[in-house]
């Protein structure tokens, strides 16, 4: 212990006496550790941190799988049969839901409401913290409407009042009694604020309406593979029993945590890999600095060895020094990581799941501790082995002269730089590919315009609240009137050029509905949904398309062109034959060699209205889901004829005025028309930017890591070359004395540096080719082996290396032969 204390004291003194070395080393390592810790915090919080429910590993998500292998949400009858037949689950539940406007609290607001079947809370192992949960009485058809509220909603809109019985909340024209409050931070699924029993609504009867998300909790005895096998067997049996009436032929089951994070996993692992490479580059720099330091300390080590320090003692001393260096760096890294995490959370795309779980918590600190110990041991052993392998006698024989490292240590330094350059090359190629992908995405023609458009997102009460009874024509007309009035008054706002709306908007998350439709002749209209499903068994008359409700100016405001026929217009009233517009993709797919105008289609499964739709026009394709996704076949209907699906309705306003003035006016108008309808405003340009947020986020981080690695690699090659020139002062002096010109010396030094660079780049190219395939899923319109990116990165790295070598090379040309020879 005494000797360790002495080593520690000596290590601290060593660092204090070399402030430049200490500062650079600590900052370099702190940068690497801090960046790695920040990214690990995100990876841990999003991917690895267990869900905050009891035995979270038992909670799973389930899907139906059709014969083509596509995963789908459950149709309710299939869920009910599966629940009855399965023995693998302690509890299993279905849930659906939507955004609703809620009144009755302190202010009208829009929240996510989840419709949950019995056992939902049993699956999650969560109970209300105030009031009570759903009783069997609440969970039957015809029961009094009740709901549970989130802790946040309770606090914000119900004032945190303990007496819940006095609160009645109105959503979708139903009045609900508040019976309980869920625990703080519980908002599953999807930031839910209200939970309503499934049995409040009538059951679904269709086995092809995939409306329900299903979760389960495995029994203590059941394993995931066992559950999977059992579900497959049940699904197979149901398929045999119901044939074409069900799409399900198998089932898919994975852990809930994996299901929640599957989409972001590749990007997060890319970031972890990238920051890991940055850490490697930082460590390589530090290793080179330590190598130079240990070379300068050869004499000291030789003295210690002569006085009786064995190799073990010297190695221990290096380890202690390394622990001190890495310990300080680790502590600074944690501080940097805390800032980094705050920054990452602020910049992260909103759709990154479990972002609220991201923090520099105990497991993250344990990670830093392990990382610091690993780096300490690795760097300490590396330096010690290099430093203590010399000849004691030779080192002492150097006498009072500064001891310099031999060619072996120079070679080693260059090897480290080669590794740095190779790693940097891989990072740069990754960043280059992501950058090129973003450029490609931005160059895609989305099929619509985004400039000068303000969007106003509304949540009207649902018109289908009395299903299976469809709303009356009077109810539909009232909704159309409300929207028409809103449109008319918005058109009167100064600076507004045109106003339109629809149930969806391109690039707005999850807003597009889709389903199967039928191509029928006039007079073939089915009389019921059951008839519709029977006709759907004939593949020659069926198709699959997105279903969008739109107003007549929707296409003009968004700049979606009319290719044939006409837009919606004043002829398309509630009583007139129902009109449809289709996009070019659908026209090409279903009517490749004929004119679709005048064809009639049945899409009543989307809103219960079985009247046939007559195609009156063909419009251009719009990339509704994302810029990266090819336009799907789409059918547009007029909101005045099909207002059923206007619960979620987005108004779009084209204006040359600043958005703020239009938004203020629109807010006033809406308050006047319906004070209980809270809007959400964005410009369409913001919607467009949000759709690229993940791509920008990945690029920004990988680009930052690559830039940092490039700087470190440049510093590394500069250090090695400067050191080499210093070592070779006499040799260079002799060469100059013998007639070497400045150009000869420049070529000599640059040649050495560029030789090192060439090897690093060659290994980096091979590494890039081997590794970039792993990020293929994040690329768009560019190959993982894109030669242009490889060439550009090679040139960039070569240019930076050339510059880094040029400075010491210039210094070499200025060596005074007389001074150099006298020095020796």
């Amino acid at each position: 212990m005494g000797i360790l204390w002495l080593d520690l004291r000596h290590a601290l003194r060593q660092l204090r006496h070399r402030p430049g070395f200490t500062a650079i080393t600590v900052l370099t390592l702190a940068l690497g550790i801090g960046a790695t810790t920040a990214i690990f915090s995100v990876v841990y919080g999003v991917l690895l941190r267990p869900l905050s429910y009891p035995k979270p590993e038992q909670i799973v998500r389930l899907w139906e799988v059709d014969p083509a292998g596509h995963r789908m949400n459950f149709a309710e009858p299939n869920f009910v049969d599966l629940r009855a037949a399965s023995n693998s689950f302690a509890a299993i539940t279905e849930t659906g839901g939507d955004e609703v406007t809620v009144t009755g609290g302190a202010a009208p607001t829009r929240v996510n409401a989840a419709v949950v079947s019995q056992d939902f809370f049993k699956v999650l192992g969560v109970s209300p913290v105030a009031g009570r949960g759903f009783s069997p009485e609440d969970q039957r058809q015809g029961a009094a409407p009740v709901l549970l509220v989130s802790h946040a909603y309770w606090q914000q809109y119900l004032g945190g009042a303990p007496d819940l019985s006095r609160f009645k909340l109105v959503a979708d024209n139903h009045v609900f009694s508040v019976i309980g409050v869920m625990p703080q931070n519980f908002s599953f699924p999807d930031n839910t604020a209200l939970w309503v029993p499934r049995d409040f609504f009538p059951p679904d009867t269709s086995r092809t309406a995939h409306n329900w998300v299903v979760f389960g909790r495995l029994t203590d005895r059941a394993s995931l593979p066992q559950a999977r096998a059992e579900l497959d067997a049940i699904a197979h049996r149901l398929k045999q029993q119901y044939g074409q009436d069900t799409d399900m032929s198998a089932a898919s089951i994975i852990r809930l945590q994996d299901a929640m994070t599957a989409q972001v996993r590749p990007a997060l692992f890319l970031l972890l890999g990238a920051v890991g490479f940055l850490l490697l580059v930082a460590c390589a720099n530090v290793a080179n600095l330590l190598l130079a330091q240990s070379a300068a300390r050869q004499r000291e080590l030789a003295i210690r060895a002569a006085l009786g320090a064995d190799r073990h003692t010297l190695v221990r001393q290096f380890l202690v020094e390394s622990f001190v260096l890495c310990g300080i760096s680790g502590a600074l890294g944690v501080i940097a990581a805390r800032w980094g995490v705050d920054l990452l959370v602020a910049l992260a795309p909103k759709d990154l799941p479990r972002l609220d779980s991201v923090s520099t918590n105990l497991p993250v600190l344990f990670f830093v501790l392990c990382l610091t110990i690993l780096l300490s041991v690795a760097l300490g052993i590396f330096t010690a082995v290099r430093a203590t392998s010399g000849d004691v006698r030779e080192a002492l024989a150097e006498g009072g002269r500064q001891q310099i490292s031999g060619p072996r240590s120079q070679r080693f330094g260059r090897t480290i730089v080669v590794a740095q350059l190779a790693t940097t090359m891989i990072l740069l190629v990754g960043a280059g590919l992501l950058g090129r992908s973003l450029l490609r995405v931005l160059s895609v023609d989305p099929g619509f315009r985004t400039e000068h458009i303000v969007t106003m997102d509304l949540a009207f009460p649902a018109l289908d609240h009395a299903l299976p009874e469809l709303p009356s024509d009077a109810e539909k007309a009232a909704r159309v009137h409300e929207i028409d009035e809103l449109f008319a008054r918005l058109r009167g706002v100064p600076g507004v050029e045109s106003v339109a709306g629809g149930d969806t908007l391109p690039l707005v998350d999850n807003s597009v509905s889709n389903g199967g439709f039928l191509i029928l002749r006039p007079g073939q209209q089915p009389q019921s949904i059951e008839d519709f499903e029977k006709l759907g068994h004939n593949p020659s008359i069926t198709g699959y398309a997105d279903y969008c409700v739109a107003s007549d100016d929707y296409f003009r405001v968004l700049g979606i062109p009319l290719l044939r026929g006409r837009f919606f217009d004043g002829r398309d009233t509630l009583d007139a034959p129902h009109a449809a517009l289709i996009n070019e993709a659908l026209a090409r797919k279903r009517w490749p060699n004929e004119d679709p105008l005048g064809k009639t289609i049945e899409f009543g499964n989307m809103d219960g209205d079985l009247r046939l739709l007559t195609i009156v026009g063909v419009v251009g394709d719009a990339r509704n889901r994302s810029l990266e996704t090819r336009p799907d076949p789409t059918i547009y209907v007029d909101y005045r004829q099909r207002p059923m699906r206007t619960t979620s309705f987005i108004v779009v306003v084209r204006t040359a005025q600043p958005p703020a003035s239009v938004i203020a006016a629109a807010r006033e108008i809406l308050r006047d028309i319906d004070p209980n309808l809270p809007p959400h405003f964005q410009t369409f340009a913001q919607v467009f930017a949000s759709s690229l947020a993940s791509r920008r986020f990945n690029l920004m981080l990988v680009g930052a890591f690559a830039a940092a690695a490039l700087l470190l690699a440049a510093a590394g090659i500069y250090g090695v070359m400067a050191y080499s020139v210093a070592r070779r002062t006499r040799e260079l002096g002799v060469r100059i004395a013998l007639g070497a010109t400045a150009g000869d010396v420049l070529r000599l030094v640059l040649g050495q540096g560029l030789g090192t660079t060439a090897i690093g780049v060659a290994i980096g190219v091979a590494g890039s080719l081997a590794l970039t395939g792993m990020i293929r899923s994040l690329l768009f319109g560019v190959s993982a082996f894109d030669p242009l990116t490889l060439a550009a990165v090679t040139l960039l790295l070569a240019a930076v290396s050339l510059f880094a070598c040029w400075i010491p090379a210039r210094r070499a040309t200025r060596v005074d032969p007389l001074e150099a020879l006298r020095y020796e």
């Binding site: 005494g2 000797i3 002495l6 000596h10 003194r13 060593q14 006496h17 004499r299 000291e300 030789a302 003295i303 210690r304 060895a305 002569a306 006085l307 009786g308 320090a309 064995d310 190799r311 003692t313 004691v392 006698r393 002492l396 024989a397 006498g399 009072g400």
Partner: protein, 236 residues
């Protein structure tokens, strides 16, 4: 302890060959040498004659290519590195031409170092360091760093460091080589005092004046002992 007839060091037919790029350099040939306890011996000769190589082998910093070497009656020519290190720490004290003090350590810590490596307790270390520094007249500079001392003072500290572990023999490699004549004389006087108090000293020097301080002088030429003289004041 020395053997019955007081022999501390005995070499028979020791040779040292360096191999570089297929070239053999015979640094030492057929060295026969005996040093008794309490002797003060100088090794002299022209530059490149093998003086320092011989001292390195004597001090167990290097091992011979052939021949036999007994230190204190124990054969040491073929010991492992760790065993040589242990013996070096306990039985040999070094004084170098360039002092070789560690710049980051204080005077006290430099002198303490051999005891630290030996694993001595703190109290023992403190007492021995204090004694050693008092013997060389440097006890008043405990907290100074080497850079704050003159060359002569640094060499005194180096002597204290060599003495602190009570070694069987002091190995001094050109101890005055980096000093002016006044400081050189002072160091040589210090060594003479140590010798008078019983220390065994083996010193490499090319300066005949200082060689005369020793009881015996060995002259090397081309790696061989060519002459051995007993000084008039020899006490052995």
């Amino acid at each position: 302890m020395a053997d019955a007839n007081g022999t501390l060091i005995k070499m028979e037919g020791v040779k040292k060959v360096f191999y570089t790029d297929e070239v053999e350099t015979h640094a030492l040939e057929e060295i026969h040498l005996e040093i008794k306890k309490g002797q003060y011996i100088s090794i002299a000769g022209p530059s490149g004659c093998g003086k320092s190589t011989l001292l390195s082998i004597l001090g167990l910093l290097d091992s011979p290519s052939g021949g036999s070497y007994w230190l204190n009656g124990q054969p040491v020519a073929e010991l492992s590195t760790s065993e040589r290190t242990r013996i070096r720490n306990r039985e040999i004290g070094f004084i170098f031409q360039a002092f070789n003090l560690i710049g980051d350590l204080t005077v006290y810590e430099n002198v303490e170092l051999p005891l630290t490596y030996r694993g001595s307790g703190a109290a023992e270390r403190k007492q021995k360091v204090q004694n050693a520094l008092e013997r060389v007249g440097m006890a008043h500079r405990l907290r100074h760093y080497p850079s704050q001392l003159s060359g002569g003072q640094q060499q005194r500290v180096a002597v204290a460091r060599a003495l602190v572990g009570d070694p069987l023999i002091l190995m001094a490699d050109e101890p005055t080589g980096n000093l002016d004549s006044k400081n050189g004389e002072a160091v040589m006087e210090l060594l003479r005092d140590l010798h008078r108090n019983g220390a065994t000293i083996c010193m490499v020097t090319h300066d005949q004046r200082y060689a005369n301080f020793a009881d015996r002088s060995i002259h090397l030429f081309d790696g061989r002992i060519t002459e051995e003289t007993q000084e008039a004041h020899a006490s052995a």
